[in-house]
């Protein structure tokens, strides 16, 4: 707009800002103005500046969401104001509250139409904030069976399940150098899994009743519980 006076420009810009047609941003060289989308402009009509500020902060948090205390720090608004604004925005269906799986009492706010991120809801292992242990068990068994029949396998999205199988001692993992571009390779490495057998048979101690006895520490000759009158031994000898 070369043929306008700077003062007129400033007035026009201010008016557009107050109406909500323009966004005010700061950059290295100076102030920048961006024209807003028409529906957004419509949405914010009737809200005041503070609400707009809070909305912007929540928008910036994208799909991880942001906690109310963080909103307070970023906007420097008092707690009561924040709560009122949040309630307002929620009723207008612009934002929503999502319960975090990390701390179940904490509520995180994000834009209404966004999908919560994995870290908030826990990903595939959670449904409605409850740990899907049955789901995990079933997948555990399935992966184990699958690995026992197949020789090599490399899959990224069930890596955590495979880690639990490693901790179960049924599977071992090696990392090999792989060409970039092969399926499942990350940074030139590929993880391979192999089903393995345990290296020893169940050890001798647990084949006796004493190995599994719950009252082992109370047992001594001449006492209430002693090897002579041990009921576990008697039962074991009956086999």
């Amino acid at each position: 707009m070369p043929h306008m006076e700077p003062q007129q420009r400033a007035m026009a810009i201010n008016r557009l800002l107050s109406v909500g047609q323009l966004d005010l941003l700061r950059s290295n060289t100076g102030l920048l103005y961006r024209i807003k989308e028409s529906q957004n402009a419509g949405k914010m009509k009737g809200s005041d500046n503070q609400e707009k500020l809070v909305y912007q902060i929540i928008e910036d948090a994208a799909n991880k969401g942001i906690w109310s205390r963080d909103i307070r720090y970023k906007s420097n608004l008092p707690l009561t104001e924040i709560n009122k604004i949040l309630k307002n925005l929620e009723s207008k269906k612009l934002i929503k509250a999502v319960k975090s799986v990390a701390a179940s009492k904490k509520k995180v706010y994000m834009l209404y139409n966004l999908q919560p991120d994995r870290s908030v809801t826990g990903g595939a292992w959670y449904s409605d904030q409850d740990f899907e242990s049955e789901f995990v068990e079933v997948l555990n068994q399935q992966c184990c069976k699958f690995l026992q029949t197949k020789v090599e396998l490399s899959m990224e999205d069930i890596e955590t399940i495979l880690n639990t199988l490693i901790y179960d001692g049924k599977v071992e993992m090696t990392i090999i150098a792989a060409k970039e571009g092969t399926v499942g390779s990350v940074d030139g490495h590929m993880k391979l899994y192999r089903a393995v057998n345990p290296i020893i048979q169940p050890t001798g101690l647990i084949r006796t009743p004493c190995g599994l006895c719950p009252v082992f520490d109370d047992c001594h000759e001449g006492g209430e519980i002693s090897p002579s009158n041990c009921i576990y031994m008697a039962e074991w000898l009956e086999f």
Binding site: W125, F131, S133, V136, N140, T160, I161, N163, T164, I166, Y167, D168, G169, E172, M173, T174, V196, N197, P198, I199, I200, P202, T203, G204, L205, I206, R207, T208, C210, G211, L212, F216, C219, E221, S226, P227, S228, C230, M233, L237
Partner: protein, 534 residues
């Protein structure tokens, strides 16, 4: 020496040697090294009895003596040696698998008698074998001697330390206790004996005609015999060598379970080649080149050199880390990491115990902590994929049984609980010690139960013994079938059933003692390998 160990030692001594020896042995184990008079004083037994008991214990290598600076002799009983009595059946069984019946009997005689000369062993074993053979055949001394020499060559038996030769002109009085020493080189040298003879059968009642002749001949033998040419050279079983063999067996079977038969054979070959060259508590064997291994493979295995190399590479890359590559000369130099292998076996034992006692989810948490060393409660839940409540419960249960311990890391100097990290961790060495202690107590419990069962049925056992004696004597004097049957019916059917039950129970308890001893062996080897020798 914990309470459990002392109890177990006293039970073993009582079972094998009787009350008096048990009292003195237990006293020595509890109090360390003591001179003769103090022992007699403390145990309240007469000097004569103490002397005899000590003789028995020294003969069986359970007590050692030392001349102290002040001029008196102190006796000491190491607890670990007494606990080896539990393992005697395993030693005998190993000798049987390696050297068949002859080896089994030789080792059995040596273990039962403590120390023996070669000629005495050979004679006894030949007699025993002759009895089991058919009529008319006898066992030649030569064969038995051969097996004896083979056992000495592979170091399963060794010479006992001997007293030094005393010269006639020595003016000083002989020392109160001779210092025994044996030359390293001579330890496995078999004396050059010319043992000719055959095993003799015990006199049986059928052999009445020969009976008199034999009686005369034996008397002559006893009177007219010169002292055997190897008098003074006594042999004993080399326990460390047997332990080395058990350790090798455990490693080979672990490799066979994890990989396949061929790789376990390769590992067995490598271990056999290192038997003599590596000391028993070295951290790894001497490096062996792939060419050497190829030449030493057993004849039955026709695998190509390339396949062997592939197997060796596979073994070296395996996460178990039993085999390591130490160089490239000679086609690749490979070592076996003995300490690492023992640690892995001990860890597997711990995991197995946790799995059986607490369940497979607890085992998952246990293995997770072993891998990641230190973890917070939250991280444990995340990695193991177990719901928070259950994970907490399992961790606390394992904590109370001391399989898992807590490490506090404070954030603030005042160690406030809300501002401190609590990390769960597994300390394998202390868990192994705790489990070992439990093993000792379990074996003591089993022995006591066995003795109790036998005592309960004492009356019945005595009765059956009397009946058997009557039957035997009647058979010898040629009784009729009817009379024999009458005697047999003295034991009623339910009593017979009871005897059967008793026999079965005693066998079961015996077998289970041996099984717990296997666990004891793995844990003891691991703990020993972690102790740094000065």
């Amino acid at each position: 020496m914990t309470q459990a160990e002392i109890k177990l030692c006293s039970l073993l001594l009582q079972e094998h040697f009787g009350e008096i020896v048990e009292k003195i042995g237990t006293h020595l184990i509890k109090t360390g090294s003591q001179p003769l008079r103090v022992i007699a004083n403390d145990t309240g037994m007469s000097l004569d009895q103490v002397k005899k008991a000590l003789c028995v214990l020294i003969q069986h290598n359970l007590v050692t003596y030392q001349l102290q600076k002040r001029g008196f002799v102190e006796y000491e009983a190491p607890c670990s040696r007494v606990l080896r009595i539990l393992r005697y059946p395993r030693y005998i069984y190993t000798a049987k698998t390696l050297y068949s019946d002859m080896g089994e009997l030789i080792v059995e005689e040596l273990l039962l008698n403590g120390k023996m000369t070669m000629s005495a062993v050979v004679r006894k074993v030949a007699n025993r074998l002759t009895e089991t053979m058919e009529d008319g055949k006898t066992m030649d001394y030569g064969e038995v001697s051969n097996t004896f020499v083979r056992l000495a060559d592979t170091h399963f038996i060794q010479r006992c330390p001997m007293a030094p030769e005393t010269t006639e002109t020595s003016a000083a009085p002989p020392p109160p206790a001779p210092t025994l020493a044996v030359n390293e080189k001579d330890m496995y040298v078999v004396p050059n004996l010319n043992l000719i003879g055959k095993g003799k059968r015990r006199r049986s009642f059928d052999d009445e005609d020969n009976g008199e002749h034999e009686a005369k001949r034996q008397k002559q033998d006893a009177d007219g015999k010169e002292p055997p040419p190897d008098d003074g050279i006594y042999w004993q079983a080399n326990i460390d060598r047997f332990h080395q063999h058990f350790r090798d067996q455990a490693i080979v079977s672990a490799v066979a379970n994890r990989m396949d038969q061929t790789s376990s054979e390769i590992v067995r070959t490598m271990l056999r080649m290192s038997e003599i060259t590596t000391s028993s508590n070295a951290p790894y064997t001497q490096p062996l080149s792939s060419n050497e291994i190829f030449r030493s493979l057993p004849a039955g295995y026709n695998i190509v050199k390339q396949i062997l190399d592939q197997y060796l590479t596979l073994l070296a890359d395996d996460p178990l880390e039993f085999v390591g590559k130490s160089g490239d000369s000679g086609g690749g130099m490979y070592v076996i990491n003995l300490h690492k292998a023992l640690a892995t076996l001990a860890t597997a034992t711990l995991e197995s115990v946790v799995q059986e006692r607490f369940g497979s989810r607890c085992a998952r948490i246990f293995r997770l902590l072993l891998r990641k060393k230190h973890l917070e409660q939250k991280q444990v839940e995340d990695f193991a994929m177990i719901p928070a409540k259950e994970a907490k419960d399992m961790l606390y249960k394992m904590l109370s049984e001391n399989f898992v311990s807590l490490q506090e890391i404070p954030k603030t100097p005042d160690h406030a609980p809300s501002r401190t990290f609590y990390l769960y961790t597994v300390n394998t060495l202390s868990s192994a010690r705790m489990l070992l202690h439990r093993c000792y107590k379990s074996v003591a419990n089993l022995i006591e139960r066995r003795q109790y069962e036998t005592k309960e049925n004492k009356r019945l056992l005595e009765k059956s013994q009397r009946v058997e004696a009557i039957l035997a004597s009647m058979q010898a004097t040629g009784a009729e079938e009817v009379q024999l049957q009458e005697i047999e019916e003295m034991i009623t059917a339910p009593e017979r059933q009871q005897l059967e039950n008793l026999k079965r129970n005693v066998n079961k308890i015996d077998a289970s003692e041996n099984q717990v001893d296997e666990t004891i062996f793995v844990l003891e080897s691991y703990i020993e390998s972690t102790v740094k020798k000065p």
